[in-house]
Structure formats: C-alpha cells, structure tokens
Symmetry: C2
Subunit: 153 residues, 2 copies
C-alpha cells in the first residue's frame, strides 16, 4: 500500500521534472508514518530530533511542492497555523473540530455529490475539490458544558 503510493509519488514528481531527493522522501515518510496533521514546525522539530540534518527552508519548499502536486492537503483550523496531511487518493475525509478541547476527528466520505452538482449548476464552475470543516463539541466537552449550565454560581 505505502510502497505503491511511494511509487506513484515518484512518478508524479518525475513527470513534472522534479527529483525525488532524500529530504523529500524523508518528509513524505514522516507524514505517512505519523498520520494526522502537522505544522511546519512540528515536522521540522520532530525530524531534527531524529538526527536529521534537514533545514527548515526545505520543509517549507517541500510542503509547498507537495501541495501543488496534490500529495498533501492543508488544514487551517480557525485562525491558527496551517497543518498538513497526506492526501491519500480515494480517502476523501473531512474534519470535525471540538471547540472545547481542540481534538480533531476525521469523518469519512460525505454525501456531497448532489451538493456539488447543485453548486456547479448554479455557479457554472466546474468543481475539482472541496474541503469541509465542522466545529462543535465532542461528547465529553458537551457533558462539561451541561454541567456548568446547571451549576449554581
């Protein structure tokens, strides 16, 4: 699975005339291994801890390139620093962010085909991608809020 994906990334790069360098491969593997959402600084610090001599400029450059090639996706929660994740082909998921504890849940393929059709019909755009972020309260935090609201002050 990952092997196959690495292969496809390699072809993707080559096709556009980019090299599959050590640092690029290392960042890719980092994101594949860690899963989840990682800021530039996350990636940089964690990789440096693993005795990797990588420079931060390379992280910026590589993430930008990966974004352009569709290898990664960016997630910007509220107003904070952008985080990146592997854009697995066929894995069309979205994010549910708890406003209480900040936990991020991924939820699977949304029934969006109809809505996209509607958008295309109304706007005359052709829609290629979409991202959806939902904000709310996880069960625990919802419980807490309820506790507060019934609490005597």
């Amino acid at each position: 699975m990952e092997e196959k994906y690495l292969q496809s990334v390699k072809e993707n790069l080559k096709k556009k005339g980019y090299k599959l360098t050590g640092p690029r491969l290392a960042i890719l593997k980092y994101l594949l291994r860690k899963k989840g959402h990682h800021s530039i600084m996350d990636i940089y610090e964690k990789m440096r801890m693993k005795n990797d001599r990588i420079g931060i400029a390379t992280i910026y450059r590589t993430v930008d390139l990966f974004l352009e090639l569709g290898i990664v996706r960016v997630l910007t929660i509220n107003n904070s620093k952008p985080c990146f994740e592997i854009n697995w082909p066929g894995d069309h998921h979205h994010h549910l962010i708890c406003k209480g504890c900040g936990r991020i849940i991924e939820f699977g393929s949304c029934n969006f085909i109809q809505i996209v059709g509607e958008i295309e019909r109304v706007t005359r755009f052709s829609v290629k991608e979409h991202t959806l972020e939902a904000y709310g309260l996880c069960p625990k935090c919802a419980q807490k809020t309820e506790d507060y609201s019934t609490e005597k002050i």
Copy 2:
C-alpha cells in the same frame, strides 16, 4: 438592517464585558461597508489611508475578539494569509475559489442539514458551525484550459 446589526454587536460586546470603542466600531464599519474578504494588512492599510490613526496591533486584537464573539468569520484559502468577513446572522454561505484566476464566488445556503445529522449520529459530536470551500475553475478559466488542451504545441 446595518443599524440593527450594529445594535446587536453592541449588546454582544456589552454582555461579555467588552467596550464598544472607536477603533472596534471603525473596523466593524469598514468590514460592513467593504463586503468581501479582507486580510489584516488590507484592513490596516485602507484604514490608515482614510486618515485613521489606528495601530496594527488593534486590528489583530479586534479581529481576534470578533472571531471569538462570532461577529466575523475567517477564510483561509489554500495556504495563504487569513481573510475576514462579517458573519451575518442567517447568511450561511460558502466559498468557491477558481484555481485559475483566484476569483472567489460565494454560494448560498447549502443543503447540509441531512449531512450534519449524519455526522452527529456517527461521531456523537454536536455540530455548531461548518465551513465549506470548493475549488474549481470558473467558466472563463475552464474555457482557457480547454483551449490549451486542443492547442498544437
């Protein structure tokens, strides 16, 4: 309409113990008047040009406060600087961004009630808000792409 909204913002601030100061009102009016999506620097520069003595720190602080109070919404397109817009109550729109020319189209209330219900059922979260960005090509840029693809090289 705007009068009424200003009034509600005033109450919103007061309720939480914040003051309706000159700068806050000025920023709010700027966003109400200009419509669309504005970065921190946009707001700062335009307001300074209008002989406004406002400091940039105040823009940051005020926008953060307005976000927290739900008075504005943030839109972060791809990986660029966040832009802000008035969060009109009842105006639940989303953004369609042309990957060709960067133009942003707003599209109206999406049929999302079912999907939100589904998300809540599966994740046990209670969903309060959601944002949806769609990326694609506007009619003009779609046309251009087609031109290229049929062009002899």
